[in-house]
């Protein structure tokens, strides 16, 4: 038999996870000259785009617009989407091995990192990622509830997710009403009684991960006065030295913005957004009824590791913050897939440059690859996954050239469709999604919003006339 990749015998690839990385990997494969490749892209939810739909904040529509590039990839005649089909539930790795020459796992980082402090499991202590998935209308999270009758909330972390959560909590109903935030979330947030939102960073202002546009945006909220503490945004000696040694305009600008926040006087807006630095939560305290009532913080100072990275060290000086709602946002973490070797230390699929490795021998498994956050961990912006996917696809092509690939028993598109139809008759195709997209957008037009999302699978099916 000839090597797959020709008109008579296309290379058949399954990609599991229809987020940005899944599309980037698809695009890289389609761009290879003289390679005929069929790509089937799977996702456990019925809709594509992963975190662009379910993670990127609803008031950041410009970023969400990157999906137009993914739609172009999906227009390729050899592309198919199977939405609502889950690995380990509807299909197994062996099913994929029987139908494809190569499999790529691009499932991202589906859970969050814990703080590891006492009281973390009290009521009203949440993963920020769950709140994000909730306000974005993710079908698995839409029925969660958050007690927005509390007056004070704390967001632990200073990354972009923390900034998103703090902003969404601080927005006015009018601001939120022009976004594609889920309807129920708009309603709940409109009735929110939160007056104070704390954002807590364990290191100093120069080390905060959020970008300058994100910080600036926090200073321009219609209904919230932002502030920082003068002594916490003043640069420490080590940071000053580091910036002198390697000047970085972006960081300097960020510190300037945060210092300017310290000089502001409240203008009487209904909410306050307080950004704190050099503090770490050490315990969440019970309000006497099993829920968070206060948070104990320790003040930190910075020290330099051998490579010069500035890290926090607790000083022992404690402080208590009265907060009734806590969102931890200290990082995402990957989840193991059934039947796929996992590296528990890093929370990624066990791999070398995208080739999945056997758990025992540490040698590459034939025909199995990974890309994106589940390959390297949750770092970078959306586009960082493009070079990452390219590295994986390069490995796939090298292996193909050496005739290293799976030998599927039934490598036809029809066989796959038959199997999926049998296991998950309710799956959505890309055509289905484009129709849903059109309906969501049309519903949005009526209320001057970018779209009104379907958040229940049964509503999606009903809208498609399939229920």
């Amino acid at each position: 038999m000839t090597r797959p990749g020709t008109e008579t015998q296309p290379l058949r690839v399954a990609i599991v996870g229809a987020g940005p990385t899944g599309f980037y990997a698809t695009d890289q494969l389609f761009r290879q000259p003289e390679l005929v490749v069929d790509v089937d892209l799977y996702d456990r939810v019925p809709t594509p785009y992963g975190l662009v739909r379910a993670g990127v904040a609803p008031d950041h529509q410009k970023i969400k617009a990157v999906t137009a590039a993914f739609d172009k990839v999906a227009a390729h005649p050899r592309f198919r989407f199977f939405g609502g089909v889950e690995l380990g539930r509807h299909l197994s790795v062996d099913d994929l091995r029987a139908h494809y020459h190569m499999i790529v796992y691009t499932t991202g980082a589906q859970t969050d990192r814990r703080m590891g402090i006492p009281g973390e499991d009290l009521q009203r202590s949440h993963a920020a990622t769950e709140f994000v998935a909730w306000y974005n209308g993710h079908p698995d999270y839409r029925d969660l509830t958050f007690d927005l009758s509390q007056e004070r909330a704390a967001v632990v972390g200073v990354g972009n997710v923390a900034a998103d959560v703090a902003r969404i909590l601080s927005r006015t109903p009018e601001e939120l009403a022009t976004t594609d935030i889920a309807d129920y979330a708009l309603e709940a947030l409109s009735a929110s009684r939160i007056r104070e939102v704390y954002v807590l960073g364990r290191r100093g202002p120069a080390q905060a991960a959020f970008t300058n546009p994100e910080v600036r945006e926090l200073g321009e909220l219609a209904g919230a006065d932002v502030s920082t503490m003068p002594d916490e945004v003043e640069l420490d000696e080590l940071t000053r030295q580091a910036l002198e040694h390697a000047p970085d305009r972006g960081t300097q600008k960020k510190v300037e913005i945060l210092k300017e926040f310290a000089r502001r006087t409240p203008t009487g807006k209904p909410k306050r957004l307080v950004m704190r630095f050099l503090v770490s939560p050490v315990e969440l305290l019970d309000d006497g009824r099993g829920a968070v009532g206060r948070m104990r913080l320790v003040k930190n100072r910075l020290y330099a590791t051998a490579t010069g990275t500035l890290q926090p060290k607790a000083t022992g000086e404690l402080e208590e913050l009265p907060v009734g709602l806590v969102f931890r946002s200290v990082g995402y973490r990957g989840v193991a897939l059934p039947g796929v070797p996992f590296n528990d230390d890093w929370g990624v699929i066990l791999n070398a440059k995208g080739r999945v490795l056997d758990a025992q021998t540490k040698q590459p498994l034939v025909g199995q690859y990974t890309a994106g956050w589940i390959k390297r961990g949750p770092t970078g912006v959306i586009g960082t996954n493009k070079p990452d996917a390219a590295e994986t696809v390069t490995g796939m092509l090298e292996d193909l050239a050496r005739d290293i690939h799976l030998r599927p028993s039934d490598a036809t598109p029809e066989a796959v469709e038959g199997m999926v139809r049998e296991r998950q008759p309710q799956y959505l195709s890309y055509q289905d999604w484009l129709r849903l997209d059109e309906i969501e957008t049309r519903r949005g037009k009526e209320t001057r919003r970018p779209r009104v999302k379907f958040t229940r699978v049964k509503d999606m099916l009903a809208a498609l006339g399939r229920a």
Binding site: H245, G308, T309, W346, N351, G380, G383
Partner: protein
């Protein structure tokens, strides 16, 4: 971005050598794995030195008996160690400033991986590319590509 995300996709393989092994054995390892340096570890897998091609070359030019010498005689003992949470930017700067090409990474003093300056440079390049890519996608959707729309 930190060292952990580099190690996450490097696979678990770190080639190590014991201090009492010979340079001949060390060279065989360098050749077999096609690498430029070996981490020298004690019995608890704690790094105690690093042995690079250069260390060997430097001795070889003046000493014919280099092959039978021990690793501990030639290795560099003052090794800078990285931690998983160390950030690429400071790691890259430290490696460049101090002319370090290989950085052993430890967790609780035990060796868990090694990164090269090449790994750091590639990761930084990918980060920048990623940012440019994201900005381009946003701009394209906002204004349309020239010639399109």
């Amino acid at each position: 971005m930190n060292i952990a995300s580099l190690l996450a996709k490097k696979g678990p393989k770190v080639v190590t050598v014991q201090p009492e092994q010979t340079i001949r054995q060390a060279l065989a390892l360098l050749a077999e794995h096609n690498i430029g340096a070996l981490v020298v570890v004690d019995r608890e897998v704690r790094p105690i030195g690093i042995l690079s091609e250069r260390d060997i070359v430097r001795t070889a030019v003046r000493d014919e008996a280099v092959f039978v010498k021990t690793v501990s005689a030639l290795m560099t003992k003052d090794v800078i160690l990285g931690l998983p949470q160390d950030e690429l930017e400071s790691v890259g700067r430290t490696m460049t400033d101090r002319h370090i090409r290989h950085l052993p990474v430890v967790d609780q003093r035990r060796l868990i991986g090694i990164i090269s300056i090449g790994d750091v440079v590639k990761a930084q390049r990918d980060l920048y590319r990623g940012e440019v890519e994201t900005l381009q996608m946003e701009l394209t959707e906002e204004h349309g590509r020239p010639g399109e729309r």
